[in-house]
């Protein structure tokens, strides 16, 4: 944009120069040829520099886009990885829930079996003839230790 303005101003200046009063013309063919060559070289240099800057700018833009794409790809990869980990955790939780449910069923089933093994009184209620009773044992250091033992009898102690 800035370069276009400069070129525009240069063109206008050149046109104004053509309107300026002309001095006496001296036919110097060698100098004219040299000036044409120098002008062409200068124009070529300006164009080359301009192209170089444009290409550098494009390269920078491309590098930035590439960097952003890489970041975006990294974020996408990280998201995918996290989602995969979450899915695995959710599956694990599901497995654990199923395992707990299975163990609960097993416990209930075993409790039912134990209840069926226990003797029942005439009214059909389970008795506690065989039960777990706490026994207090003295320890070697003068303390007491409570031990759960199997006891036989009636009532609770």
């Amino acid at each position: 944009m800035k370069l276009s303005r400069i070129l525009g101003v240069s063109v206008i200046a050149a046109m104004l120069l053509t309107l300026a009063p002309q001095g006496p013309v001296s036919a110097d063919g060698a100098a004219s040829t040299r000036n044409i060559i120098l002008g062409g070289a200068a124009a070529a240099l300006i164009i080359i520099n301009h192209n170089k800057q444009v290409h550098a700018h494009y390269a920078q833009d491309a590098a930035n886009e590439a960097s952003l794409a890489a970041q975006r790809d990294d974020a996408q990869a990280a998201y995918t990885s996290e989602k995969k980990a979450y899915d695995n955790e959710a599956a694990l939780v599901g497995d654990l829930k199923r395992e707990v449910s299975y163990q609960h069923d097993q416990v209930v089933q075993l409790q039912r079996q134990v209840s069926m093994l226990q003797p029942h009184d005439t009214s059909g209620h389970a008795t506690n003839f065989v039960a777990q009773t706490t026994l207090v044992h003295p320890t070697s250091v003068g303390g007491e230790q409570q031990v759960a033992v199997t006891s036989y009898g009636w009532g609770t102690i």
């Binding site: 003797p119 008795t127 006891s151 009898g153 009636w154 609770t156």
Partner: protein, 121 residues
């Protein structure tokens, strides 16, 4: 004559000491002997009505068998009292011992009676 009197006094003292066993020990001993003999009426005589209703002949027989596995019943001695009011005894047999825990209600009736095989067995 004097020696006869002394002997009589000694006999009376021995009998008095023999009767000094606590009522809990006597009750526990009575129940243990009744269980050992598989006598349900004697075993439940000192039980509370609710507890007596839970005793079956089959269970009494099992407990009697458990005692007979240890030989002849010789008696029991109190080994302690628990904070909740239960009494601990050690029943002595010719071939081992059993731990007996007994609980009495306010009227002195047995509200809980449990036998534990001794850990050494």
């Amino acid at each position: 004559m004097t020696s006869i009197r002394a002997l009589a006094v000694c006999c009376c003292a021995v009998l008095a000491l023999a009767g000094c066993g606590s009522s809990e020990s006597r009750t526990a001993d009575d129940v243990a002997r009744a269980v050992y003999n598989d006598d349900i009426d004697s075993a439940t005589k000192n039980f509370t009505p609710d507890l007596a209703k839970t005793v079956t002949r089959q269970e009494l027989g099992q407990l009697s068998d458990l005692m007979h596995q240890r030989g002849d019943y010789k008696g029991l001695k109190q080994t302690g009292t628990e904070p909740d009011g239960a009494y601990d005894f050690e029943a002595d047999f010719s071939n081992g011992t059993l731990i007996v825990k007994m609980k009495l209600d306010s009227s002195g009736k047995v509200s809980g009676y449990r036998v534990i095989p001794s850990p050494s067995m």
